[in-house]
């Protein structure tokens, strides 16, 4: 019986001490982790939108059941962003974040999530591919070359670029609906 209590006592002491250590470490790193996580979301917007100093994920309007994020510079609207999920990818859904300036001209495109074939379709995350979309507006023909457009598809994969192009097209329509309001 004595050894039983000794075991319980030892384990209790160790866990309490470990808990105290963790509490200390948590309080030291908490703010920094929260800051980093926030920065991660804002970085995505910074990379595709024109200059802004607000937090676009907190300012949005709903158009056609889609959130349109609004970028502002000291209260003046500088751009819009839409996150659309296109399900026509080769490996399933592709989540695309499209950013435009205040006139609806594309300032940047980012692929947030995808499951395309490694080495083929996953080239849609390449910067050189995504930059091809810059400068297009809603009335331009945004399509891969195979469908008569100007977006260069890469050898061996047409489906994934086509899905991204479709996603960007849909986003522009939503953003245009926002601008026209």
């Amino acid at each position: 019986m004595k050894s039983f209590f000794k075991s319980v006592f030892t384990i209790t002491i160790i866990t309490v001490l470990a808990g105290a250590m963790l509490a200390l470490s948590y309080s030291l790193t908490k703010n920094k982790i929260a800051y980093q996580e926030r920065q991660e979301i804002l970085n995505a917007f910074t990379s595709i939108l024109p200059y802004h100093n607000n937090e676009p994920d907190k300012e949005y309007e709903i158009i056609n059941n889609q959130k349109v994020f609004i970028a502002k510079d000291n209260g003046t609207i500088t751009g819009y962003a839409v996150n659309i999920i296109n399900t026509q990818g080769y490996g399933g859904a592709i989540s695309i974040l499209t950013g435009t300036d205040s006139q609806g001209v594309i300032s940047g495109v980012a692929v947030i999530y995808h499951s395309e074939t490694p080495g083929l379709g996953d080239k849609i995350t390449n910067k050189s591919f995504l930059d091809l979309f810059k400068g297009f507006a809603v009335n331009d023909k945004i399509a891969v070359k195979k469908d008569g457009g100007t977006i260069e598809q890469f050898s061996g994969a047409t489906v994934s670029p086509r899905a991204v192009a479709a996603g960007v097209r849909d986003s522009l329509i939503v953003i245009n609906g926002m601008i026209g309001k």
């Binding site: 075991s7 030892t10 384990i11 160790i14 470990a18 963790l22 920094k32 996580e37 991660e40 080495g119």
Partner: protein, 199 residues
């Protein structure tokens, strides 16, 4: 004694090449040199801390609850490392993700606690933790660099191959981990047998 501990940890009893412990993180995170280095150093930090603390408290822990006690100590260190990494190396932490908490169940860490730290004095345990950890890191780093150079044509994200180089993509994919680890084992055996003077 200390010299022996260091040689054992780094080479002759290397966690990966000789004991084949901790193969799960070895296979999973060695897709690039940076990831391998990050994982190796995180494990080293945990190992050093847990070895030191366990050798200090081992004498006071009743035999029948020693494993739970060790695990609590290890888990505590892993969580601290996890939080530190998330605060200071956010992008690396995002890649390594789930594998950092899993250091808790890395058999190298508990293995050293049970086999070495609980039986030796704090100084030796500290040296053992560092050298086994560095040995593990070196093994991961070799595999990670190998896979990154062959499979992506880069080293620390800097292109090192000719622009016409067509990366052997399989090297950075899961099957490549097994293949290239096998190549490394074969290479180590080859070198060892040559060093012993065997044909």
């Amino acid at each position: 004694m200390i010299k022996n501990i260091i040689i054992n940890g780094l080479y002759s009893n290397n966690a990966i090449f000789k004991q084949m412990l901790g193969l799960c993180p070895t296979l999973a995170v060695t897709t690039s040199a940076v990831n391998a280095l990050g994982m190796g150093l995180a494990t080293t930090a945990v190992l050093t801390g847990s070895n030191l603390v366990i050798s200090l408290i081992a004498g006071y822990i009743p035999k029948n609850v020693r494993i739970p006690a060790y695990i609590v100590v290890i888990a505590c260190f892993v969580t601290i490392i996890d939080q530190m990494m998330k605060a200071n190396f956010y992008s690396l932490h995002k890649v390594l993700g789930i594998f950092i908490p899993l250091i808790v169940v890395n058999c190298i860490v508990l293995g050293r606690a049970e086999a070495f730290a609980s039986k030796n004095n704090p100084l030796y345990s500290l040296v053992d933790g560092i050298s086994v950890g560095i040995g593990f890191t070196i093994a991961l780093f070799i595999l990670g660099s190998f896979r990154e150079i062959v499979g992506a044509g880069t080293f620390f994200n800097i292109s090192v191959m000719l622009s016409s180089y067509n990366p052997l993509l399989i090297a950075v994919m899961p099957p490549g981990a097994f293949l290239f680890l096998g190549f490394l084992f074969a290479g180590k055996q080859f070198i060892d047998s040559r060093m012993k003077g065997e044909k």
